[in-house]
């Protein structure tokens, strides 16, 4: 089934299958992490499962993603990720050296991110019932006082910033998985974004929304935020930071960089008055050197994302429907 692409179908699964079955409340599933109070502290809690193929690719591995992915989901609530769990599903016959490399990568990534992997679990399935290794991680982090970051807070007038080049991770994975050469080697951008978030929060606690645009890319994340907050999102197409090698690869494959996954980038919705200072702080940080404004929240086309094209047209950017079906007749 096509429910894994991070598009309309996954959203439907959450809304129509899981939320009713679990009896979850209101906004469950709309943010990257859950936020709740426990013993007087506000915590962000998140889990993610990693099935990426191949296991190792230019610039990273499934191990890096498993740590950074969950840590980033926590950081997108403004929390400092502190503790992680991990679970492995191993196919019988998987070489130990493979698992070893993944574990090394996880350890290194955890140290870089400043998180502790504190608990774990391993299951082995029969040969043929899995594909070497799947990794699940879950984690928690403490949300500082005065910080309230969630998709519903996007407001008309907010400036939308992306922390750097988009589409890099997805193209890096595809180039190794499919054995495609696009001229230059494209490396994943995986990174733990918390240090960047901390630098932004040092400027102002009043950041409205943070999101790491992973599966489904920038387009999917922006649509989710536009729907959750019922604001219009207006992008400026020519402001989108798409590296030439990503643009070239996308043109060859017939993909739109807006829909390609990222692993080390974040989108920020910031009140207009704070935007300049936040942008400056981001650019001063290694993870945000190429941060740039890509759009704003508007009072028109609520719950919709619209990109202003180079020639001044207004292209509707919606959620992908699972496969890339042409609509041109």
């Amino acid at each position: 089934m096509g429910h894994g692409g991070g598009g309309q179908l996954s959203a439907e699964l959450v809304q129509h299958l899981f939320v009713p079955a679990f009896g979850s409340q209101g906004d469950a599933g709309t943010a990257d992490s859950a936020v709740f109070e426990l013993g007087g502290a506000r915590l962000a809690f998140s889990t993610d499962t990693f099935v990426v193929r191949p296991l190792f690719f230019p610039g990273g591995s499934i191990g890096d993603l498993a740590v950074n992915g969950t840590a980033n989901d926590i950081a997108m609530s403004g929390a400092m990720p502190s503790h992680l769990s991990c679970g492995f599903i191993l196919e019988e016959g998987t070489e130990l050296s493979v698992l070893g490399r993944i574990a090394e990568d996880m350890g290194a990534a955890a140290r870089r991110a400043g998180v502790a992997i504190v608990t774990g679990d391993t299951k082995v399935v029969d040969a043929g019932h899995g594909d070497q290794v799947y990794v699940n991680t879950a984690g928690v982090g403490l949300i500082p006082d005065g910080v309230d970051i969630r998709p519903q807070r996007a407001a008309v007038g907010d400036v939308i910033i992306v922390s750097g080049a988009i589409g890099v991770h997805g193209i890096a994975i595809m180039s190794v998985r499919e054995g495609l050469e696009f001229g230059t080697e494209i490396r994943t951008d995986t990174a733990c974004l918390y240090p960047l978030v901390a630098a932004m929060l040092a400027v102002t606690a009043d950041i409205h929304v943070l999101r790491d645009p992973t599966r489904g890319g920038v387009a999917t994340s922006l649509n989710e935020i536009a729907s959750a907050a019922r604001v219009g999102v207006r992008l400026t197409e020519k402001a989108l930071p798409v590296p030439p090698e990503v643009r070239n690869a996308c043109a060859l494959l017939g993909l739109d960089p807006l829909y390609v996954a990222n692993e080390g980038k974040l989108l920020a919705f910031v009140p207009r008055e704070q935007a300049e200072a936040v942008l400056a702080a981001m650019r001063a940080h290694p993870l945000g050197e190429q941060a740039t404004v890509i759009g704003e929240c508007v009072d028109e086309h609520r719950a919709m994302v619209v990109a202003t094209t180079t020639f001044g047209g207004t292209r509707v950017v919606d959620v992908p429907i699972g496969e890339q079906l042409p609509r041109i007749c």
Partner: protein, 790 residues
């Protein structure tokens, strides 16, 4: 001497397009000529007449209504009832009935008539050089009407009160302007102004004179017209045209041109008598015509940038007083004789109608704005038609056509069909009427989505259709379908007024190619319950199996269809990227046909080495590919293989260039290529492999594109004939419907129609709506809204 007994009175209600077309003055004249008393007025159903007099005169009067009606009128039905004699000797024209609007038909916009044109050029006339001259026989209608009945207060001219002489003409039954709602003169009509950045505005005749001077000097002007703004420049001035092309980001897409009259048109294009009729028709469409290679002495030049690489040129004749003034009347300084007249919009957006938007949105495109203060209610682009086999083939049905309804062969529930996503046109229908909207545009664009909302509202107002059903395509990614889903949930744009509260329209979904075939059936009046063999050939449509269909043979009636055959699936590498790059489609087809990518093949040579590597991987593994049976993509592929076009700037460019290449070589072409047709579990599979092999052999042998194109067109027509014969032999069906954007190809349509008719098939082809997705709304209505006859 007439006695009371010989005297009778009849009420005659004339249904159809009878308002705003000079019908009441016509009735007045007819009644007076017959010596009848009584009166006539517009009513919610059309025009109601009461006539009194001797029986023979009454009968002669009724019998003359149809044959002598004004040329713009379309009479659908005449109901006659006997009423009580009232006496009296006068015949009067009454004011409009203020009853709630019913099934009155609003007229399309009509080109300036010959009488008004004489007045425009007559120094003695009140209307001398009046850009807005119009009468009951001509002028804007659909684009100015806000509601019904069609009276001045319900038009965008409501705020322009008539001066005394105009009031007198408006009230005088014998006048050509009696009750002409768009009547205007230099004293009381709209005011023309020329707006230039940094300079004072000039108005009236000075605005015209200065505009002509600017155009002569190579400027680009935004000109406010009937259904929107045009961008105008001198078509002979290469620099001006190239500037406009660059500013508009237009790629190689051709511009349409306008000339003052038929003789000028004949100097630049070949015009058959039928095409001349089409050009001069009151609808004044853009007609696609072959450019003259050799122009007569004194003919105006048309710069190469107008229609780069095209042998055809879209030409229209001036259709408003303002257009005629721009070309100049006798005594005026010479000015451009051929003007580029293209929709005033930004790439992808709908044509601009709002003055503020024109000033803002078009600022980077134009040097000046020629505007007036008559608001445009609804956008209406120029229509585009061409001739195929001596019969009109609509390419875009908009100004001059909309909102002329199409008669359906059965009754339908009140319904809205939202059409497709590109070249969107929607359809409102009820009973036996289907009103196709004007061209709306590409639904990818947010401005177009807004224009769609506004157009639905306006057409619903003037047709009084309150949809119980909203019909859309099955494509999961169509924005039109998403619109339909929203509209069938509350609150929706279709829920207007307390009466409709709580009544959710239903949603109906129709498969794309079924809608194409049903559109051809419906516009030809084909009855329900009689299946046809439908050929739906287009670029892309969502298939029931999730594949991209487009080379479909259906056995269909309105209720259902069976996919009896199709082009063999091939991989569409990279979705839209395959559409924009016909060379990619060519290589995919070669791969499927197991033909090597010889670097001597133009399509192979057109790809960079890294593109070839990625593409090879894609077509081998299916990465980023959907399976497609598209005939449009096969045309693209072969167009590229023959070296005609590898990358496109606008929709169907490769196919259009390929058709143009074929045309001179089709007659007498002795040896068409041939598809192989195999009958399998999936039905009839048409395999293009032998065609591709022969194309490649020709290409490598140095055969020219014209011959390859001709052999290919004949092969596709041959395939249609073979498949039609095959189905007739098995199912006994001898009616064939041809639909889908591929049949915009006049050469192919002509070959198919001729061949099928020679073999005794009845052919349903498009004449009223375009065969492309601009026509599918009609088919969606026909499939989903047919009222249960039981």
């Amino acid at each position: 001497m007439l006695t009371e007994r010989d005297r009778h009175r009849r009420r005659v209600v004339v249904h159809g397009l009878v308002q705003g077309v000079g019908f009441r003055p016509f009735v007045y004249a007819l009644a007076r000529e017959a010596g009848l008393s009584g009166q006539v007025h517009n009513c919610s159903d059309g025009v109601e007449v009461e006539v009194e007099g001797p029986t023979p005169a009454l009968e002669a009067f009724v019998a003359s209504l149809r044959p002598r009606a004004p040329s713009m009128a379309r009479i659908v039905a005449i109901d006659v009832t006997e009423v009580e004699v009232r006496g009296g000797s006068e015949f009067e024209i009454g004011l409009s009935d203020s009853a709630p609007p019913g099934r009155t038909l609003v007229s399309p916009d009509i080109a300036t008539c010959p009488d008004c044109l004489s007045e425009l050029a007559d120094p003695a006339s009140r209307y001398y050089r009046h850009p807005f001259v119009s009468c009951t026989n001509c002028g804007p209608r659909f684009t100015v009407v806000r509601g019904l009945p069609y009276d001045r207060p319900n038009t965008t001219m409501a705020d322009l009160p008539l001066c005394a002489p105009c009031s007198a003409a408006y009230a005088e039954p014998g006048d050509r302007r009696f009750h002409a709602q768009t009547i205007a003169c230099p004293q009381c009509g709209p005011v023309l102004s020329l707006v230039r950045p940094g300079l004072a505005d000039v108005t009236g005749q000075d605005a015209v004179a200065e505009s002509r001077r600017l155009l002569s000097a190579g400027a680009v002007l935004a000109v406010k017209g009937i259904g929107g703004y045009h961008l105008a420049c001198d078509a002979s001035a290469e620099q001006a045209v190239a500037t406009l092309r660059k500013r508009k980001g237009r790629g190689d897409k051709p511009f349409a041109v306008m000339v003052a009259d038929l003789p000028t048109a004949r100097q630049i294009v070949h015009v058959s008598p039928a095409e001349a009729g089409l050009l001069a028709d009151h609808r004044r469409p853009v007609v696609l015509l072959d450019q003259r290679r050799q122009r007569p002495p004194g003919a105006p030049a048309v710069s190469a940038s107008v229609a780069p690489g095209r042998t055809e040129l879209g030409v229209m004749l001036a259709y408003t007083g303002l257009h005629h003034l721009l070309f100049g009347l006798s005594g005026d300084q010479p000015s451009p004789r051929v003007l580029v007249m293209t929709s005033g919009n930004l790439a992808g957006e709908p044509i601009v109608i709002d003055d503020g938007a024109a000033r803002e949105r078009l600022v980077a495109l134009v040097d000046a704005w020629l505007v007036h203060d008559r608001p445009i209610r609804i956008p209406c682009d120029d229509s585009v038609v061409r001739m195929a086999g001596g019969i009109e083939l609509p390419v875009r049905r908009s100004r001059g056509f909309a909102p002329m309804p199409i008669s359906l062969p059965f009754a339908v529930r009140p319904a809205l069909a939202v059409g497709g996503d590109l070249k969107n046109t929607f359809c409102l229908a009820e009973g036996h009427y289907a009103w196709m909207s004007a061209h709306v545009g590409d639904m990818d664009d947010w401005a177009t989505l807004q224009a769609f909302d506004a157009a639905v509202e306006q057409l619903a107002t003037i047709t009084s259709v309150r949809p119980e059903l909203v019909v859309a395509d099955r494509h999961p990614g169509y924005r039109s379908t998403a619109w339909a889903r929203r509209a069938t949930r509350s609150p929706s744009p279709l829920h207007r007024g307390p009466a409709e509260q709580g009544a959710h329209p239903q949603l109906g979904l129709v498969q794309h190619h079924h809608a194409h075939v049903a559109a051809a059936m419906a516009e030809n009046g084909h009855p329900p319950g009689e299946p046809v063999v439908g050929f739906a050939f287009d670029g892309t449509g969502y298939g029931n199996d999730g594949a991209v269909w487009g080379g479909e043979v259906l056995v269909a009636d309105y209720d259902a269809f069976e996919r009896i055959g199709h082009l063999r699936y091939v991989r569409l590498p990279g979705g839209d990227a395959a559409v924009r790059n016909p060379c990619r489609m060519a290589l995919s087809h070669l791969h499927s046909a197991r033909i090597g990518w010889d670097p001597a093949i133009p399509s192979v040579a057109a790809c960079r080495p890294e593109e070839l590597t990625v593409l090879e991987r894609q077509v081998r593994t299916g990465l980023g590919c959907s399976p497609t049976s598209s005939m449009g993509r096969l045309f693209d592929a072969v167009s590229s293989l023959a070296g005609v076009c590898h990358r496109i700037d606008y929709e169907a460019e490769a196919a259009m260039l390929f058709e143009a290449a074929a045309r001179p070589a089709i007659d007498g072409c002795p040896d068409p290529y041939a598809f192989s047709v195999v009958s399998g579990v999936e039905g009839l599979l048409a395999d293009p492999a032998p065609v591709l092999a022969a194309v490649v052999a020709d290409v490598l042998a140095g055969v020219g594109a014209a011959r390859i194109a001709a052999r290919f067109h004949l092969a596709v027509a041959g395939l249609v004939l073979d498949l039609a014969e095959h189905v007739r032999a098995r199912r006994g069906l001898d009616t064939v419907a041809l639909s889908g954007g591929v049949f915009l190809n006049a050469a192919l349509t002509t070959l198919c129609v001729k061949g099928l008719q020679q073999r005794g098939f009845r052919v349903l082809r498009h004449r009223l709506v375009p065969p492309s997705d601009a026509g599918i709304a009609l088919g969606q209505i026909a499939v989903a809204a047919r009222r249960d006859s039981s």
